[in-house]
């Protein structure tokens, strides 16, 4: 894949409306369905995300790209996820 092309844009994961643990569950589910390292743009309105997302990334060894910006009441974070292989899920 070349850089800068349409397909390289970070994929948006819109988890607005989900609180606390539910966002982490979605992230864990996402890791199960990707086949390669994937950078995502997470949209959330969870006010605890500044604490929760870095903590989850530290525990699961995922890359926290930081909070990018806030538009209205929605924060956008960048995370780079690695696939969670079936063997690790057992």
């Amino acid at each position: 894949m070349t850089t800068g092309g349409y397909d390289d844009r970070p994929e948006v994961m819109d988890v607005r409306g989900l609180g606390c643990g539910s966002v982490l569950v979605r992230l864990a589910q996402k890791r199960k369905v990707i086949s390669e390292s994937t950078t995502i743009l997470l949209w959330t309105d969870d006010a605890g995300a500044d604490e929760e997302l870095p903590a989850w990334c530290r525990m699961t060894l995922q890359q926290f790209g930081g909070r990018l910006d806030k538009v209205d009441d929605v924060w956008r974070y960048e995370l780079t996820l690695t696939p969670l292989l079936a063997k690790q899920q057992e």
């Binding site: 989900l18 609180g19 643990g21 864990a28 525990m59 899920q89 057992e90």
Partner: protein, 122 residues
């Protein structure tokens, strides 16, 4: 960092707020790669029986059925306190996914084997 995590839940429909938050924490642990056990005791045993948690949907959180199934699909397990279930006449013939009947020994073994487990109680 300890890799085992225990959430003890002692409530169900009698205190849906506590039961729900307990399951939210359990889901956060399982989704963070922790080997997570939910110990269901006292009124909490009702969550382990199929259908009993269906009516619980605490405002601001996912419905209990979703919390229970997500937890199991992320590898989480439940230990249902057998005497607690028995004294309540709870039908344990059909348990939710990831659940099995057990008791104190199973809980203590989980918490003290392969390092120590962190735990919280609701």
């Amino acid at each position: 960092m300890s890799n085992r995590f225990v959430v003890t839940i002692t409530h169900s429909a009698d205190d849906p707020d506590k039961a729900t938050v307990g399951m939210v924490i359990a889901n956060a642990a399982a989704a963070s790669g922790k080997e997570t056990l939910v110990f269901l005791s006292n009124e909490g045993v009702r969550l382990g029986a199929v259908g009993c948690g269906d009516a619980i949907h605490q405002e601001g959180f996912a419905p209990m059925t979703e919390l229970l199934s997500n937890f199991a699909s992320n590898g989480g397990t439940f230990l249902v306190c057998t005497p607690c279930a028995k004294v309540r006449g709870l039908d344990t013939a059909e348990l939710v996914a990831g659940a099995k009947l057990g008791g104190g020994a199973g809980l203590v073994e989980f918490m003290t084997t392969d390092g120590t487990a962190a735990s919280v109680s609701y």
